[in-house]
């Protein structure tokens, strides 16, 4: 079974995979994951890496990063990696008990979330992409960060003879613009091409030396011009990087979990939330979703269950989780409607694969604030307090809106602030979590029949 963990960068893919594998290997409190709660899973183990050309997911080192004295969240993922975990279980049905193997192999792929942004490029030509990117950069919230690049753009003439140095310089300025838009205070998401932000093995390759031009979608680029050079680079970028990545890892998924870092986007404001919605909608149209039939089983399976999860739900009190789920529903509404129409099962939940906080309530001037308590990361700022990563603090992040639409229309600016916390210490060998068991039940539960 292939489980697709989809999520943009910093959505928590690596932590989710680590927590999932840890939960399967070590058990833990999984009351809603029925197979495990009934004790039907007898043994789980990591298989040797099945694919010799792919690095193995560094489960052990991620786990080491999460534990110990100077524990920290894993570094952002720089390259693709894969893991196969096998669960042995007692089948329930008569036939399966006697003839089935009682084994479930789960393949999980981890990769930099930035690369996902490339998937929509497969359906766009260079000129279309150029026009769309330039148009988006001319309106808020991108406009204020795009000055340098716009100046560069004005100096480029698509019809001039091709010049390698000019192409490289343009790509550099464009990359700087993209990475500025990704910083925490802006937190935009729709920033293709993803390899510009996270080049992986392609750093410095001519494949990455292109940038959009200020042209119309219908422009014809003459041979030998700068525009034609950039167009050729773009086409080969899509053909040699994006397509193999997609067809190698995402075209044959059975189940999909879409991790969405809603809270960071809310931190940055309505612009970021809107951008996140756009990015997710574009990415999710690339996947084959829908219920499976005999034919689809033979000729390419479809994803029949999709879980949309708002990650880092531990930065909120549980009484706000419903509101968070509503905001997520709004963000993925289009993608959800499409998948539902195709017949896939859908669930939305607020998830924390590893829960870093406890809950507390603080009474202040006859008002009870539902807080979360934990150790904020060093350098996090809230109001006048700056945290050093050693002190424990109770945080009231502000009330999420009861009406999910206000997350998109900008009426919330400045009323929410979510602080990141240090990873927790494991309790009885297992990490605390929020609804990881429910996510596992939804994604894997029926495969343990």
């Amino acid at each position: 079974m292939r489980l697709g963990v989809t999520g943009l960068s910093r959505a928590g893919k690596t932590v989710f995979i680590t927590a999932l594998v840890h939960a399967l290997l070590k058990g833990g409190r999984m009351p809603a994951f029925e197979t495990m709660a009934q004790g039907r899973i007898t043994r789980c183990y990591l298989e040797p890496q099945p694919d010799d050309t792919l690095p193995r997911f560094a489960y052990e080192s991620h786990l080491a990063a999460l534990s110990g004295k100077d524990r920290h969240w894993p570094e952002s993922t720089r390259r693709i990696s894969q893991l196969r975990i096998t669960a042995e279980y007692e089948p329930r049905g008569l036939i399966a008990r006697n003839f089935g193997s009682g084994k479930l192999h789960i393949d999980i792929v981890d990769y930099p979330g930035e690369w996902l942004l490339d998937l929509p490029l497969m359906q766009m030509s260079f000129t279309e992409w150029s026009a769309a990117t330039v148009a988006a950069s001319r309106i808020s919230p991108r406009l204020q960060w795009a000055d340098d690049w716009h100046r560069m753009l004005a100096s480029l003439d698509p019809l001039a003879p091709a010049d390698e140095q000019q192409a490289i310089a343009a790509a550099e300025v464009f990359t700087a613009y993209l990475s500025r838009c990704r910083k925490d205070d802006v937190s935009l998401s729709t920033l293709p091409p993803g390899r510009f932000l996270m080049p992986g093995d392609f750093a410095g390759s001519p494949l990455l030396a292109f940038s959009p031009l200020d042209i119309l979608p219908s422009t014809e680029l003459p041979r030998g011009s700068l525009g034609a050079l950039l167009q050729r680079r773009y086409d080969s970028y899509v053909a040699t990087i994006v397509k193999p990545f997609f067809f190698g890892h995402f075209a044959r998924l059975d189940r999909q979990i879409v991790l969405v870092d809603t809270l960071t986007a809310l931190n940055a404001g309505a612009g970021a939330v809107n951008d996140l919605r756009q990015a997710l909608t574009q990415i999710l149209t690339c996947f084959r979703q829908g219920s499976n039939s005999i034919f689809s089983n033979l000729f390419g399976r479809r994803i029949d269950r999709i879980l949309f999860a708002a990650t880092k739900a531990d930065l909120l009190h549980h009484t706000s989780h419903d509101k968070l789920e509503n905001i997520l529903k709004l963000i993925v509404a289009e993608a959800m409607a499409k998948a539902e129409y195709a017949g896939a099962d859908i669930e939305v939940l607020a998830l924390a694969a590893i829960r870093a906080t406890r809950e507390a309530s603080v009474k202040q001037r006859s008002e009870t604030l539902e807080c979360i308590a934990g150790m904020p990361l060093a350098g996090e700022v809230l109001g006048f307090s700056r945290f050093d990563g050693e002190t424990e603090a109770a945080i009231f992040p502000g009330d999420l809106p009861a009406e999910a639409h206000s997350a998109l229309d900008g009426s919330l600016e400045g009323s929410l602030r979510f602080i990141r916390f240090r990873p927790p210490l494991p309790k009885d060998g297992a990490y605390p979590h929020i609804r990881l068991d429910r996510a596992m039940e939804f994604l894997l539960g029926d495969r343990f029949a």
Partner: protein
């Protein structure tokens, strides 16, 4: 021009002086009312249905009720008078006998009071189970967290005094502070506290059904038959109720029987398949062997149905799996047992 035209005018509004009337009508600030909760829409795919309540007693019976109440109070007055007279007569005869009689009467009165309290308590317990059922069904259907918490904590109270539930209660306790959604919390409590009892309930029902089959087969007269079947059914209902946490006494059992009958009346789909089954089993297969045995089997199936209805009514968390399937398995068990007659 002069008729239709109205000149501009200014009116002076006499405002109340500050502090004069302000105290009476405080200004209301504009405010946003948040936290309005709307009932979430039901997902009809996996709706769990709570067993129906018995129909409310009709209002037209009021005179009959008054008559009954009046007669009952007359009888109790008469009984009180008779006892008082009896004690007085004893006092006339000898003071020692009188005191003894008074003591015995007091003990009897105390016992009667205790019985009344027990009945009330048992009825309350039955209605508590009904509340838990309603909360649990609501929590499962709408994933409502507060209802789930309420249902689970009531369930824990219900089983708090039972020795066989202590281990499960302790297991369940560790999840109290975890963040679990409503549906999952109810399922968790079900798995820990209720599901272990299902097998036992199945055993009780199967046992009663077998017994009814056997006794109907061997009893000589039809009248005795009816009495036996009724008695055994009541006993089975009580056993099932006790198993799931009720404390059925006389009144509670009667109420239980009423609910069960109501439940049976509503589940019509079951009856249809059942009729067919009765036909096959009663007149066909077993009837060929012996008429009495066929009747016995039919009575057994009836008992099984009553038992399943009783289980639906008594189980604190309504069940998702269909009762039909379970009836099938019960009947198979019954027929295979009855087919090769075995001494109970």
């Amino acid at each position: 021009m002069t008729e239709g035209h109205r000149n501009p005018k200014a009116f002076v509004i006499d405002e109340p002086k500050p502090g004069e009337k302000l105290a009476e009508t405080p200004k209301r600030k504009p405010r946003a009312i948040t936290g309005i909760t709307f009932e979430p829409e039901h997902d009809d795919m996996a709706l769990i249905v709570v067993p129906p309540k018995p129909p409310a007693p009709s209002r037209s019976m009021r005179w009959g009720g008054i008559l009954l109440a009046a007669l009952a109070s007359l009888v109790s007055l008469w009984a009180g008078l008779a006892v008082t007279q009896l004690v007085e007569e004893f006092f006339v005869r000898s003071p020692i006998l009188g005191w003894i009689a008074l003591g015995v009467a007091a003990i009897a009165g105390f016992a009667a009071l205790a019985i009344i309290f027990r009945e009330i308590w048992a009825l309350a317990r039955l209605s508590r189970i009904e509340h838990i059922q309603a909360d649990a069904a609501h929590a499962i259907n709408t994933d409502d967290s507060p209802a789930a918490k309420r249902a689970v904590s009531h369930l824990q109270n219900l089983y708090a005094g039972r020795a066989d539930a202590q281990l499960s209660l302790r297991d369940l306790k560790q999840y109290d502070t975890d963040i679990i959604d409503g549906r999952d919390r109810v399922k968790l409590a079900e798995r820990h506290l209720v599901s272990p009892r299902d097998d036992e309930a199945h055993r009780i029902i199967a046992h009663a059904a077998r017994r009814v089959t056997l006794l109907t087969t061997v009893t000589p007269t039809a009248a005795l038959d009816i009495l036996l079947v009724a008695a055994l059914n009541l006993r089975m209902m009580r056993e099932v109720a006790t198993l799931y946490g009720g404390r059925p006494s006389l009144l509670a059992t009667l109420r239980l029987a009423r609910i069960v009958l109501g439940h049976l009346a509503v589940t019509g789909g079951l009856a249809l398949s059942d009729n067919l089954l009765q036909h096959v089993v009663g007149k066909g297969l077993l009837g060929r062997l012996s008429a009495r045995l066929g009747e016995g089997a039919v009575n057994g199936i009836l008992t099984a149905r009553v038992g399943l209805a009783a289980r639906d009514v008594c189980r604190p968390i309504p069940q998702e799996t269909s009762a039909k399937e379970t009836l099938g398995s019960l009947i198979r068990e019954l027929v295979s047992e009855a087919g090769e007659p075995k001494a109970e």
